[in-house]
């Protein structure tokens, strides 16, 4: 009996200690605002116009925040989520490639079909449930908080789709697909005979005709998983155009709306019938009546997952998105809701893009205020996408438009400062900064010209994607994604030709030549740094890592063609796209920012220090593999060295 009591004593003491710790921590409050793409140079140039950020800088602290290699949002936010470098969480780019096929796929999530199903004619009856799998490794910091009984609300954290399974209230962010499973596929209907395109990146262009004032519009929904051929399920819309006035009535199966030319609709609901009368999927979309005459031009947003009836997991608890939709009405659930694709395709003008972007921000601010007002204790994290997406389209050319977005975020930060008061720690951080994107680098063409990549016929250069004309029997290296170069390695790539013993020598050669790569137009070095993942990262989760990560000089970036494996004719050319700002460069060229209402002791904080700071605030120990240290502690030499 006595020995049993002795055995139990440490357990009881540990439980008491744990309970006391939980109680102490539960009373604390911390607000972390993640502002994607907030740039330190832009802030420095506009402190006077951003009063709340300026006050935060003066009363608390302001630091450059070292971003990840490469400085891409899914990579950087995965580091914030897990406190690990990319070698720990295993996300190295927006897209990874399958070494067997060299085909790209989303680095953030994949869908897993049901394991067992029964086929009956054209129909398939799933006998087990399919799922969506998040590909990021590591443990999300809010799960660690939850284990200690600390409440948290995490809204729109990027690369968190499907959301981490936990009791905390969370809503998924960047990486959440639209209902069709894409990152955002708009539909543009027109009767313009001069519009010859049928697809553009991120959108479909559909020819329609107006007969007796009526135009039939068909929206594409998800692929029908109940059919063997996976036919896309569609939803019909009818536009009734007035014979003389610039106005139209849109009839859906459930609703009617009227739009004047130049007006956006509110959210409309669509139910895509997978099995008529038995199974359907709900989506929401908005219509923009761009023009009635002389040509009909109707823009329809990607069909978003309906937060009130989500077809895929977008929140924890699952009912949380329903509660938000009930309180706020429908809202964008698509990971990146700003319509940059339509602007880039010349379908929306800059003013139209800005109008839509303001609606996204208004949606986001409504949700922010709602959740901020409900925040009582623990952690509140909220992510803003607007500065990042607008910087891509406005950076360096339309500063006043961009400043308007910064001001709106500044006002939101002011509200958070007011709600925080002196007893709550407030962190405002960005994952990276921004730079002009003036010159587009076709890395595959460069590799070809340096003899590392071969085509079946040297004349077959062009914009055909997915390495269409690449001769893999003579190719040593290829580029895919926005910063990655991969070797065509024996035993890893299907039909790879580079022996393992040649790997280091080849990587050294490519690195050397990349660093010597000069832009024939500007005479500047194109590449600032070349990173080797196994040397750069502490984590060993390197299965999807490129062999080299290219850190471009400010102003340079891998071309869109490179991202999807095309080999155009020239290695570098002017960026003529509407996408004029970017950050997929060398990490030290585009740092983010960190501001707080408390004194920041650390001189050179990194992204994973934000994670460590959150855990330290609630006295939660860092698990093994998690890096960093609280930014409110002076970094001891030893501690710094251990990072």
């Amino acid at each position: 009996m006595k020995s049993r009591a002795l055995l139990l004593a440490p357990l009881v003491l540990a439980l008491c200690a744990c309970s006391r710790q939980t109680t102490e921590a539960t009373g604390r409050r911390m607000i972390v605002l993640g502002v994607d793409g907030m740039d330190p140079q832009f802030l420095e140039a506009h402190w006077n116009e951003l009063p709340n950020l300026n006050r935060l800088r003066k009363e608390g602290g302001f630091r450059l925040l070292e971003t990840t290699v490469p400085p891409q949002s899914p990579v950087a936010w995965s580091t914030v989520t897990t406190g690990m470098d990319p070698g720990g969480h295993g996300i190295f780019d927006f897209i990874h490639r399958n070494p067997q096929t060299r085909m790209p796929f989303s680095s953030m999530a994949e869908s897993v079909p049901p394991r067992r199903s029964l086929s009956i004619g054209p129909w398939v009856v799933p006998l087990s449930s399919g799922s969506v799998r998040r590909l990021r490794g590591g443990t999300a910091f809010w799960r660690l908080l939850e284990e200690r009984g600390i409440d948290s609300t995490v809204i729109r954290m990027p690369a968190n789709f499907p959301p981490v399974d936990c009791e905390a209230q969370s809503l998924s962010g960047m990486g959440t697909p639209d209902l069709a499973g894409a990152f955002g596929m708009f539909t543009y209907f027109t009767d313009d005979p001069d519009e010859k395109r049928t697809t553009v990146p991120g959108g479909l262009i559909v020819r329609t005709s107006v007969v007796n004032g009526r135009a039939e519009l068909v929206l594409n929904g998800p692929a029908n998983s109940f059919r063997r051929d996976h036919t896309v399920v569609t939803y019909p819309l009818v536009a009734h155009i007035d014979p003389t006035e610039p106005v139209a009535r849109f009839d859906t199966e459930e609703e009617q709306i009227i739009l004047r030319e130049g007006e956006w609709s509110g959210w409309l609901r669509a139910r895509f019938r997978m099995i008529p009368g038995l199974a359907s999927t709900a989506g929401i979309f908005r219509i923009y009546l761009q023009q009635v005459r002389p040509r009909l031009r109707i823009y329809v947003t990607p069909v978003n997952i309906d937060p009130g009836d989500p077809a895929l997991p977008i929140s924890t608890p699952p009912d949380f998105s329903r509660e938000l939709a009930h309180a706020l009405g429908p809202f964008y659930t698509q990971g990146i809701p700003e319509e940059t694709s339509a602007y880039r395709a010349g379908i929306l003008s800059r003013q139209e893009f800005l109008g839509q972007s303001r609606q996204v921000l208004a949606d986001s601010l409504r949700m922010f205020r709602h959740e901020l007002s409900r925040f009582k204790s623990g952690l509140f994290f909220y992510y803003f996408s607007s500065i990042d997406q607008n910087s891509h389209m406005l950076w360096g050319r339309y500063d006043s438009d961009l400043l308007e977005i910064y001001r709106a975020i500044d006002a939101a930060i002011g509200e958070a400062m007011q709600q925080a008061g002196p007893g709550t720690t407030l962190l405002v951080m960005s994952d990276h900064g921004f730079a002009r994107f003036d010159r587009a680098v076709h890395l595959n063409t460069w590799l070809m010209q340096r003899g590392f990549l071969a085509l079946d016929d040297p004349a077959n250069t062009g914009n055909q994607e997915l390495f269409r004309h690449v001769d893999w029997t003579r190719t040593e290296a290829y580029a895919i994604g926005l910063n990655g170069i991969y070797l065509n390695l024996q035993g890893r790539e299907s039909g790879g030709i580079v022996p393992h013993e040649e790997k280091e020598r080849l990587l050294d050669r490519i690195t050397e030549e990349l660093l010597a790569f000069r832009d024939p137009k500007t005479k500047l070095n194109v590449v600032e740094r070349v990173y080797r993942p196994e040397r750069e990262f502490r984590g060993r989760n390197l299965a999807s890592a490129p062999d080299l990560i290219v850190g471009f000089r400010r102003g340079y970036r891998a071309s869109w063609q490179t991202a999807l494996g095309a080999v155009p004719a020239v290695p570098i050319e002017d960026n003529t796209d509407a996408w004029i700002g970017d950050h997929c460069m060398a990490a030290d060229q585009v740092p983010g920012v960190l501001l707080s209402n408390r004194k920041i002791q650390m001189e050179h904080p990194r992204l994973y220090d934000v994670t460590a700071t959150v855990l330290a605030e609630f006295n939660v120990p860092r698990p093994e593999g998690m890096l960093g240290q609280s930014v409110f502690e002076a970094p001891a030499e030893t501690a710094r060295g251990a990072r």
Binding site: N212, G213, D242, P243, V247, I258, R260, G266
Partner: protein, 271 residues
């Protein structure tokens, strides 16, 4: 004319009831009405059904069920019992036919009228809504729409040629209980509009034909003219009872059935 008078009388009765019980929330008003309807239905059922035969058939059903249980190990007897059970059930269904037919018309009329009291919510202030006029011929010329104070007309009329309809987008900016006026060919037709507040009654589509007025009884018929109907797309209302919010029809059926079944003994009615 007769239809208008009938609708008006029925509607006035329900309006009187609603006004008399206006102190109570809509859910309570509906619950009381449903219970009363249930009582009325069971009383009528008792009067118009053949109670003696119903009791006999029910006893036969029970006897055959017992037969099935007792002789479950004798297939021939069980099979005969199954056939008799089916016959008795068909007989029971036949006996139900007469009271159901008698009750159908008043019940449907009651439901059609109640839709305006519990099925439609007034327009939300600040939210746009669509008003549509259906014409008898091609909608080449749109009527002129005049709205009361508190209702903004946001768009020019959309002439939907294919359907002979004309639609406008309106937006209430304040609570309103008034009339929209549509003028065409020198003739003005009105349509009642409710926005904001908690009106007891929200009329649906205003129609012209007598048959349509049977199903759309909220307002008098339009009368002769070029307009077939006028509609305002009101949001659907839901009634919250015991913490559950759903369509009023669900509550009506649950509560009327419950009261009828509870009180059938008191009325000595066999169902």
């Amino acid at each position: 004319m007769v239809m208008d008078a009938f609708n008006q009388a029925f509607n006035s009765l329900l309006l009187w009831y609603s006004a008399a019980t206006a102190w109570a929330p809509a859910s309570v008003r509906l619950a009381l009405l449903s219970a009363a309807a249930g009582v009325g239905m069971i009383w009528v059922f008792g009067k118009v059904s053949n109670q003696a035969r119903i009791r006999t058939v029910k006893r036969k059903v029970q006897a055959h069920l017992l037969e099935l249980r007792i002789f479950s190990d004798e297939p021939a007897v069980a099979w005969r019992a199954q056939k008799s059970l089916l016959r008795a059930n068909l007989g029971y269904a036949g006996l139900m036919l007469q009271p159901v037919l008698v009750l159908a018309l008043p019940t449907v009329l009651l439901l059609v009228h109640l839709e305006g009291f519990y099925g439609r919510a007034p327009l939300a202030v600040g939210r746009p809504a669509i008003v549509t006029v259906a014409m008898r011929g091609p909608a080449i010329t749109a009527p002129v729409l005049m709205a009361p104070e508190g209702i903004e007309i946001e768009t020019p009329p959309v002439r939907v040629l294919e359907r002979n309809e004309v639609s406008w987008r309106i937006r209430p900016v304040a609570p309103v209980s008034g009339y929209l006026h549509f003028t065409i060919d020198g003739r003005t037709v009105s349509k009642r509009i409710e926005a904001g507040g908690s009106p007891l009654f929200v009329p649906g589509r205003r129609v012209d034909s007598a048959f349509a007025a049977l199903w759309r009884p909220g307002e008098p018929r339009i009368g002769a003219g070029n307009i077939e109907w006028i509609d305002i797309r009101y949001p659907q209302a839901s009634v919250s009872l015991f913490g559950f919010s759903t369509d009023w029809l669900v509550w009506f059926f649950i509560l009327s059935m419950a009261s009828a079944l509870l009180l059938k003994g008191r009325f000595k009615v066999s169902v």
